[in-house]
Structures are given as structure tokens and as C-alpha cells.
Amino acid sequence: MSDMHRTKQARDRWNFLWEWANPVKFMWFSGRVLPWLIAATVISLVASLVWGFFFTPEAINFGSSVKIIYVHVPTATVAVSAWFMMLVASLIWLIRRHHVSALAAKAAAPVGMVMTLAALATGAMWGQPMWGTWWAWDPRLTSFLILFLFYLGYMALWAAIENPDTAADLTSVLAVVGSVFAFLSRYAVNFWNQGLHQGATLSLDKEENIADSYWIPLVIGIGGFMLFFVTMVFIRTRTEIRLRRIHALELRERMADA
């Protein structure tokens, strides 16, 4: 009895956090925050891209194609982070059943997919001058292709199911199981082919870190794309909430005349 009491208290303590999962509160909060987010996104993106494109030296044997890095690396980073965010949101939905969380996962998927596609496309454009081919079966590249497929499947499942709660449940289960397999695939492709792609150049302990003049705008760019992602997810979640309201209203209307 006292045990139950305690857990209830514990839950109360965290309630202030969960309350943001209430659609009404979320709408209010996101409405307040969005203008700031948009401003921050624009500033950091413009800063990093302008800096990156116009104020960095051309690398000796890379030519000006090196500047593609300012789109390529941030989109790639965001593409992976987006899937993690969806995984967390899906788990929250499965465990706490907050609708906003499921809708946020739904909203993040197309953004993540576009980011994956952008990373693939910029990578391909870069690969042409660098490796002399648009595409190679390099592990890094390949696992992005697989990630792209996961995004596609996730979105297709959302689209195929009519009942929104069922869709949220099933896509969440898919996100959880899919994450495990995506991780496995990452390992598997590494095992399968050693590849051409750069290692992690951003890691701080490595000797061969790229020069600071490239590094700073790149970090700002990664931040900018992250902000862009968060902004898009906010906007799209708001849209999804509104769509759900419309859906609920329509259903009510239908039930009324049945």
C-alpha cells in the first residue's frame, strides 16, 4: 500500500514534465517558442553556409568541392539523430501513451528521410570528383541507404493504417525492432566491406583533425541543421495535432448522423 503511494508520489513529481505532452499545452508552448527557433535556425544556417562557402580556403587536392562538406556532414548527422529521436518518442508513446509523442515521431520521419536523402545526394555529388564514381558500396554509404529504407517503411506503415492509434502503436513497435536491426546492419556492412569513406574527422583526440578554419563553420552548421530539424518537427507536430483534431471532429459528425 505504501509502496503504491510512493510510486504515485514519484509520478506526481515528474508530472510537470509530462504535462507538456498534453496537446493543448504543447500547442501553446510550441506557438511561443517557434518564432525564436526559426530565427536561431536561419541565423546559424546562414552563418555557417556563408562562412563555409566564401571564407574558407580551398583545400589543396580537394578543390572547391570540399565545400559540400557544409551540407553533407550536417545532414548526415541530423539524419541519424532524427531516427534516435523517433525511437525515444515511440518508446514514450508505448509506455506513457502521450499522443503528442507519437505524433512527434510521425512528424520527424519525413524530415529525417529528406535529410538522409540530402546526405546521400551530396555524398554522391562529392563522390564523383573524389572517387570517380557516384556510388560505391562503402559501409558508411550503404548503411545510409538502409536507413533510408527504414524511413520509407516507417512512413509507409503510418500511411497504410487508418486508425491513428493503431498506426501509432504499430509504427512504434516497428521503430523499436527496426532500430535494433539498423544497428545490426551498420555492424554487418562494416564487416562486409572496408570502404573508401572518411573516418570521424570531428573526433577531438585524433591527430588528423581538419584545420580549425574548416571546423568552426562546420560545427555551427551542424547546430544549424539540428535547429532546423527541431523547428520542422515542431511545425509538423502542430500540423499533425490539428489534423487529428479535424479527424476527431469529422468522426463525431459522422457518428452524429449515423
Binding site: 487508418e162 476527431a248 463525431r252 452524429a256
Partner: protein, 211 residues
């Protein structure tokens, strides 16, 4: 079978997230037949699926003994390439029952026992679906329009089967539009039709914004 009572308290059932019937309270005791009535689309199927545990109630609660329910719907779960006897034997084994002969006898299926289910007429299929109930060994039957496609003789046969079931201490909740000839209590769901424009009555405040 004294605890074999199905009870619904202040139940709200929903389809696609919208309440269909609300504030339902009733109990079904052993030896009782309750006939669900209501016009097309009033929510009888939804209610039965909820009671069978196939979908969660939107509000309120259902209390029933574990593993006591046999659900029978339009779809009979028949495999068209298996024979009548094979179909029935499968369900009997799933429920740990061994003898399918009484069920075949009682629904007049002995002559058809070697016939593949795909070669049955609509009414014969239906009879087989009803025979399945007998091999579940379950006490509470939830039946959704069980007499569809049955001719008069078969409806009478079915009524006998239900009568035998309740006199053995079973119970049945039957949604139907026709008169079964059972001395039944009628439970009309029409008054419980949910008002879709009423203020939100969903359980958690989190959903408020959607409803």
C-alpha cells in the same frame, strides 16, 4: 459455475477512437440469455468485441472470469480446404476438448462431416460455425447475428442448443435482428447511444485536445 458472471459497469465502447455506446451497465448470470437489440450501426458488434477482450473499452470496466468466453462472429474461422470434421476437431483440440461427435450431432452435421468447408452452402457453413461453440467448453457465449443465412429448421436447432447450454449453467449474449423463439430478456442498446457532441468524456486529460 457460480462465479461465471459477466458484468459491465458504466462501459463506453468506441470505434476508431469515437465512443459508440456509453454508460452501459448490465450483468449476465449463469443460466441467462440476453438478446442485444438495436438498429443497424448502433454498436452491437463493437460491444461484443469489447466484451470478448478483442478491443479495449474506452471507459468503464468489464469483469469476467478468465477463459470463460466463446466469441462467435460472422467470420467463422473455417478453413475452406479442411473438412467439416477437421475444422471442428482443430478447435476442439485448441480448447482441450476431445469429442466432437456431440457437436456434430446437435447441429445436424453428421451427413456433411467429410465435406470440405468450401463446398458448403451459406447456411451449412453457419451451422458449422455454431458447432464450434460447443467444442470450446466455454460457459459464456457472445454471439453476433448467429442465425444469418439459417433456414427456420436450423434456427430452431440453434435455439435448442442455446437452451441446453443455459440449462447446463451457461450464459449467452446474442446480438440479433430476428426472433429466436427463446424465452429471453431483451437488452436494447439504443438508449445508450453516445452523444458525439457531448463534452469530452475520455479518461485521460491528455487527450482532451483531440476529442
Amino acid at each position: 459455475m457460480s462465479t461465471m458472471t459477466l458484468e459491465a459497469r458504466d462501459l463506453t465502447v468506441s470505434r476508431g477512437g469515437v465512443p459508440v455506446l456509453e454508460g452501459l451497465s448490465f450483468r449476465l448470470d449463469p443460466g441467462q440469455v440476453l438478446v442485444l437489440r438495436g438498429p443497424n450501426g448502433s454498436g452491437k458488434t463493437t460491444l461484443l468485441r469489447t466484451l470478448a477482450g478483442l478491443q479495449p473499452p474506452m471507459a468503464g470496466e468489464v469483469s469476467l472470469p478468465p477463459e470463460a468466453i466463446a466469441y462467435g462472429a460472422h467470420a467463422d474461422g473455417l478453413k475452406s480446404t479442411l473438412t467439416v470434421a477437421e475444422n471442428l476437431r482443430f478447435w476442439a483440440r485448441v480448447h482441450g476438448v476431445h469429442d466432437i461427435e456431440p457437436a456434430l450431432d446437435r447441429l445436424n452435421l453428421q451427413a456433411l462431416r467429410q465435406r470440405a468447408a468450401q463446398n458448403l452452402s451459406a447456411g451449412q457453413k453457419r451451422r458449422l460455425g455454431l458447432a464450434r461453440l460447443l467444442v470450446t467448453g466455454r460457459a459464456i457465449w457472445l454471439l453476433d447475428e448467429p442465425t444469418v443465412s439459417l433456414d427456420r429448421a436450423s434456427v430452431a436447432l440453434f435455439a435448442d442448443v442455446v437452451r441446453a447450454h443455459i440449462s447446463a449453467g451457461g450464459a449467452a449474449l446474442i446480438a440479433t435482428h430476428i426472433d429466436l423463439g427463446l424465452e429471453t430478456e431483451i437488452f436494447d442498446v439504443t438508449p445508450f447511444k453516445a452523444d458525439p457532441n457531448a463534452p469530452s468524456r475520455t479518461p485521460t486529460p491528455f487527450d482532451e485536445a483531440f476529442a
